[in-house]
Symmetry: C2
């Protein structure tokens, strides 16, 4: 499919990218099964606080080889129990990389292969993260302000959210003595 050149604008003060084709706000209630401390989630939800954990703006292009999708993700600062606010995380269905560029705030990009092998890299303004094909990826805000980053991936990558939902990530990022710490996820379900 043929499209014309265009430009988008990232406004870091207003925390938006415009124009966009999709704006998605992800609230705590839809992330209940992703956090370690389910009681902390339920306590917050039962007190009527279904906060926005993160949101993203996406400008998608034709799903054909050679095109890429671009967008901006904004993760609010905060924790559920000891665990920092984070994205759901996903794998790509096809062999496709993803690139992040940190724009504001600081955090960790957690990546893992389907066998559970994990890697974590810090992200902050000016830092580029390369997520190679086959590595699942999740972003975690370990700072005190909004964490904002630009992302890009081949538009025919496809998204597999199911595997993360079923197995979780092998590592989680918690706060300990005021600092982020990467520990084994007690809820992780390895393949065997």
């Amino acid at each position: 499919m043929s499209i014309n050149p265009y430009s988008l604008t990232i406004d870091l003060k207003a925390c938006i990218m415009k124009p966009f084709k999709k704006r998605t706000q992800v609230r705590l209630s839809s992330l209940r099964d992703y956090f370690m401390d389910r009681k902390a989630v339920d306590d917050m939800l039962s007190s009527g606080k279904d906060l926005i954990i993160y949101e993203y703006f996406e400008y998608s292009n034709p799903e054909s080889e050679g095109h890429v999708n671009i967008g901006v993700t904004i993760i609010n600062p905060g924790r559920i129990g000891k665990e920092y606010y984070m994205t759901r995380g996903h794998y790509h269905e096809k062999s496709a990389a993803e690139v992040y560029l940190g724009l504001s705030g600081e955090g960790i990009i957690l990546m893992q292969l389907k066998d559970g092998e994990a890697q974590a890299l810090k992200i902050m303004p000016g830092k580029i993260i390369y997520v190679p094909p086959h590595w699942g990826h999740r972003a975690i805000n370990t700072g005190n302000e909004k964490m904002i980053f630009f992302y890009m991936y081949p538009s025919n990558a496809g998204h597999d959210y199911q595997l993360v939902k079923e197995k979780g990530f092998s590592k989680i990022v918690i706060e300990e003595n005021g600092l982020p710490k990467i520990i084994d996820n007690p809820r992780y379900k390895s393949r065997n």
Copy 2:
């Protein structure tokens, strides 16, 4: 080919991206045939000034579908005659997009199809430019400081520099009364 996750750092003060796999400095002498005013080029060169017009840092990945190459381009401020400093420009060999994100300074991304149809979009910090497949692309620094931008494209895109060398771009960007102006390129060789 399988690779592991990694991160790169863009340092806007030092004007570098590190680590990199390739650092390329492009001097005026190798751009002689790209500027409109050849006498202005020759005058500068004969006075011993073979200045660096632009440079780029690239971190290339495997040339297989699903991978992307990433890098940072820095164009110095200045003009050759009336024409602003610019990159050589190229087409991709395959049907492959390119994405730019402005980081510092300001300029214009000039794009054209092989039949000469042209589009120009402004770039500045926070501005994303989407160059769809089949559009040749060139970056032009129209400001008074270094213009720095991040770029990304599918790593199997391939580069065709020959067509731009032979035909040129149908438009050029010159300074007139202190402002950038896009005009027809008197040296452009249309296909017929």
